[in-house]
Symmetry: C2
Subunit: 142 residues, 2 copies
């Protein structure tokens, strides 16, 4: 697990990425700032600049519906502009998934309207499996 595939990150970028990578959920820019104040970060631009770079590198995703950020954990995140997220509103966990059929559907819809798709934001809100069935056999499906 060396940083073989990781491009050279600056100190701030490393700090921000580590914070996101070690978090168990999405973090807002200001939360990151607070966490890294001891490390020397003191103002929003330092965080936002690092985030911008990390997003460019495909190492971090921005969650539009949360105004928050997560480290990319997609097994084979080949297309960072078409990531799909499932966001549990009970535990705040975020899962990133890639689905070929879904991507195809998106592309097909866009093409049907002669729309040149450059980026797809897909964020699914709901309740994750663990939070739906926490050792409880209740059939609360809706």
């Amino acid at each position: 697990m060396t940083s073989s595939s990781v491009p050279p990150l600056t100190k701030n970028q490393s700090l921000v990425y580590t914070a996101l990578n070690e978090a168990d959920g999405p973090l807002t820019a200001y939360t990151i700032l607070d966490q890294l104040r001891d490390e020397g970060l003191r103002a929003p631009p330092q965080v936002y600049r690092s985030l911008e770079r990390l997003i460019d590198l495909g190492m971090v995703h921005r969650l539009e519906t949360l105004n928050a950020f997560v480290a990319c954990r997609h097994p084979s995140c080949e297309d960072h502009t078409h990531a799909v997220f499932m966001i549990c509103e009970a535990c705040d966990q975020v899962a990133e998934v890639g689905d070929k059929t879904l991507t195809n559907s998106l592309n097909r819809v866009a093409r049907g309207y002669d729309f040149a798709l450059s980026k797809a934001v897909v964020e699914l809100h709901g309740t994750c499996a663990q939070c739906v069935a926490p050792t409880d056999a209740r059939e609360g499906k809706e």
Copy 2:
């Protein structure tokens, strides 16, 4: 089924809805506020409260990636929690579409992870047909 026409809206709600409906694209809450200052609106909560109600009624959608709002123009907008938007970054026009296959894909993905989907945010960014292939360049574009 499709409710005949507009449910009883309060004055502020009507003002906000009219502003959105007559706009040729999405508006931010503060833009709406500015436009309606002459009509008596003076503070953000008045706009946000109206927007909240209009969204509940399914008459308005919030565009998460723009922090903006549009009147619902979906021909048969039966499911306001699964609307799909195509957002042209050249002309700022927004098209709302409903696609059965896409919706099915979303539901299938969610189910595959035992994820109880409550709301899907799908916002496609790119360039619309008119902006990709400008048939006539007489419009004072940009």
